[in-house]
Symmetry: C2
Subunit: 239 residues, 2 copies
């Protein structure tokens, strides 16, 4: 991977802690982003930070999410507002022989940029298709089309990633050399986020079966894997 | 539940969207908080928002987390810094008959307050025990004790919840009345975060077995349930 494939390291994304597990390259950052559906976005309103969970997706260096239609935020986003979008996957609880070395295994990506409303109608229409098709391949065309009223009621926000960092903590316990002799159970308890098999809408006509385009979400699979696969299959129109 | 059991509704925690699923009572907010181990904290540094994933826990109205020892943040937290700590649990993907009604089922709690460093040594020592015992009942006393150097290298932050809100979205698809006849598969795909059975430290002596105090984390259980149970069992010294 050449130099252009890494985000620049700046004062805001430079990792201060656990730097040996950090990365700035697009491949690592994107793999974490593309394995998720729910992120947390930090933004500031009159000095007050907000941390909002939301569905998001990525196209190249651009992140998209649905905004609250709350007017307090809209006003700020029209002019562009600094934001930080973070995606985290918890992989294991880590139980060490000292309190200090207890931790969690996780993968996280933190992305910085300026969040803006999508105001262009064609761009917004494309985003309202992408928010479905990115997760559920080829599904948007099978739905009842978006109405003008729905488009108006929906706020879509985009943020070009200006810089980003990834942190990955994995593996088993790492204790201090002198602590391994301490007589206490130590190890990791892995955590998996798995799909459980669908529950059809109770009002679904009995002849309608789940389409093969949703096979990525098969029972027992991890959500990460399903999302990574559907992201691979997602080919949006170039912006 | 009487009035004192709800957080005040203010400009910053008042829910603007999906208010029918919102709540401000401690019981609802705390149930969401106590079923989690990883939160996201938003804070602001020189106008730039940061969204940081971290392990957290709750004692009464106070949230605790480990801070980065990054000096840029320390300086601000000494004086107290406005923060927003959010915990979210994803429960299902929701596939509707229109793009507009696609969503996710989730439970989230958003808590506002002023984050501060714990500088009192006794309070910090108690927190370094709590961060272990809250998750792993009675474990701290079985570990190699915290060293002075480790305590110095660890930053613990606390934030009294000044106001908070919860949002819960559950159930199956809700489509527009006229859309139920539209011929497309609709339903939900539940997501569960489950424990997978431990992986002992490769250097663990063969005679050391996992203690019964960790039984909450049994194989196949959801992480939420394990964390809710261990929080119930957690009885910290009153601060």
């Amino acid at each position: 991977m050449n130099h252009e494939d890494s985000f620049a390291v700046t004062e805001r994304n430079r990792l201060r802690r656990l730097h040996e597990r950090g990365a700035y390259d697009r491949k690592t950052v994107f793999e974490i982003l593309d394995a998720g559906i729910m992120c947390h976005v930090a933004y500031v309103l009159e000095g007050q930070p907000f941390c909002t969970p939301t569905i998001y997706w990525r196209q190249e260096d651009v992140l998209y999410w649905h905004g609250s239609s709350a007017s307090r935020m809209l006003r700020h986003l029209k002019a562009g507002s600094p934001a930080c979008l973070t995606v985290s996957h918890l992989d294991a609880l880590v139980l060490a022989r000292s309190g200090f070395n207890h931790s969690a295994n996780y993968r996280s990506a933190m992305c910085f940029g300026t969040a803006r409303l999508i105001e262009d109608e064609a761009e917004k229409a494309a985003a309202l298709i992408a928010v479905v098709d990115r997760f559920y391949p080829d599904r948007a065309a099978t739905l009842r089309p978006v109405s003008a009223q729905e488009s108006k009621a929906t706020t879509v926000i985009k943020m070009t990633i200006e810089d980003a960092s990834a942190k990955i903590a994995g593996g088993n316990v790492e204790d201090e050399p002198e602590d391994y002799a301490h007589q206490v159970w130590a190890g990791i308890i892995p955590v998996r986020t798995v799909l459980e098999g669908e529950v059809p809408c109770p009002r679904l006509a009995s002849e309608i079966t789940r389409p093969a385009t949703l096979d990525a979400y098969r029972d027992g699979r991890t959500l990460d894997d399903a999302l990574a696969e559907t992201h691979q299959r997602f080919k949006p129109e170039p912006a």
